[in-house]
Symmetry: C2
Subunit: 283 residues, 2 copies
């Protein structure tokens, strides 16, 4: 049980964490830090947090667990600032979609003083909608959370972070920040870009005709543009690798169609069918 949970950033993810933690009796008290009064009020009204503040300060000093759930560009500052106010017995984690850059930047900021340990997390759950009003206390249920400790992370901190996400219903997987970024580029960042490009390839007059296939494949293209430009920027090199591989695959299908190699085309589509056999079955 957490006595005092701090959540920096009360958007979709932060507010969902607060609601999930409170509904499950996981935290005795939750303080939310946000920039906008409107989001904080919504988070309070939804019961995601018990008290609200706009700055990371003494109010959070006794938080024994703190999650930074801001947009990526604010994570490093928020984590560094939190570690200045928290006691060393606390633990800090985040919820950002990229990991290596954050760890690298935090390492550069490490002060001489001992501070609360940080463990990088990426709870793989979300929505194309934004803000506390889109929050859902069951958002994390049955989903995967990747945590990315390194050799210097205290085992007890890793264990507490693991237990936190598990308590929200998640399956926790551990890997290095670099491996995380590379794999997530392929299965999350690339699908977003592919989906944005699909939406751009349709004509406006076509979309009212679209069936469930179009709807599913372009759902991600409704995701916030600013947020995704930032994620791609942060994970640029892994995203470019994944994109290069994707363009190669699309172009291979195109060449088979150009050359009317129908047997070969069917074989590649069958490969794709098989590639999915081992995915999480959940329909």
């Amino acid at each position: 049980l957490i006595d005092h949970l701090g959540i920096v950033g009360v958007g979709l993810i932060g507010a969902s964490i607060g609601r999930a933690a409170r509904e499950r009796g996981l935290a005795r008290r939750v303080t939310g830090v946000g920039r906008s009064k409107q989001s904080l009020d919504q988070a309070l009204a939804l019961g995601a947090i018990d008290s609200a503040t706009t700055v990371i300060d003494a109010d959070l000093a006794d938080a024994d667990f703190l999650v930074v759930a801001t947009p990526i560009s604010k994570v490093v500052d928020a984590v560094a600032r939190s570690r200045e106010v928290l006691s060393t017995s606390s633990v800090v984690t985040d919820a950002a979609s990229t990991k290596a850059g954050i760890l690298r930047d935090l390492a550069h900021r490490a002060s001489e003083n001992e501070s609360a340990p940080f463990v990088g997390s990426h709870p793989m759950a979300g929505s194309h909608r934004q803000g506390p009003s889109a929050s859902d206390p069951n958002l994390f249920e049955g989903r995967t959370c990747i945590i990315t400790p390194d050799a210097s992370t205290p085992a007890s901190a890793v264990e507490r972070v693991r237990r936190f996400w598990t308590s929200l219903g998640m399956r926790v997987v551990e890997m290095s920040a670099e491996e995380h970024d590379e794999r997530i580029a392929r299965i999350s960042h690339l699908p977003h870009l592919a989906s944005y490009a699909l939406a751009l390839s349709a004509e406006e007059r076509d979309t009212p005709l679209a069936g469930p296939g179009f709807r599913d494949t372009t759902r991600l293209a409704a995701s916030p543009a600013a947020l995704w430009a930032e994620i791609v920027r942060e994970n640029r090199s892994a995203v470019l690798d994944a994109l290069a591989r994707y363009i190669q695959n699309v172009d291979e299908l195109r060449r088979l169609i150009v050359s009317e190699a129908w047997g070969e085309l069917e074989k590649r589509l069958t490969d794709a069918n098989r590639r999915l056999d081992c995915r999480d079955s959940e329909d």
Copy 2:
């Protein structure tokens, strides 16, 4: 009301049509034509059809409405054969995902004798699953059906086909076969190929990590390879146009990332957001 409905092909679509028509009291009697005894037995057991046969023959002579719901490569033969046995007061339609090639091939086969009129249809509903066991009497509810009559199609036949799909709960839209093929290439055939390529770009060990975004964007890649190779073959030139446009869009995103043009990237992603604003809202 249809007195005798014929359905050639009792897979997912054919069996769903039979079940929908019977549940809605739309047809007094339904005969199913199939190649496999197993599918016919399943269709009978599910109540999709009242009687089963493996050939298009005298059993169907008095059918007043007939739907061909076979794979594309069999549609032209099945339609032509049906028109030989049906009376001229009957109407024939199909359910294939491409239209221009079918109409062209049928025109080449037109006999001297008058025969039942044909109206091309594409009910835009489906599943990545196959066979009568995957059928669903509500498959068509709320979906769009495109019909593609031409100048020579009798107005009364168009009206009967329109009424048929409307009775299954569909919204019916009329356009030329060529326009259909071009627009459907962009919003259905292209999303399938993009989805197959995404599945091919993931590594097997990645897929268990995948979240709902990956699941949605690769759902279509679980579609039957043989069926989709055939659809692409049938609509080759429109599919190649759509693919060329898609590759251009993906490559533009890639170039913006390579050149670190983050503001431009965000602008393109915002364009994609907007492109979806006018789609059928149904969540």
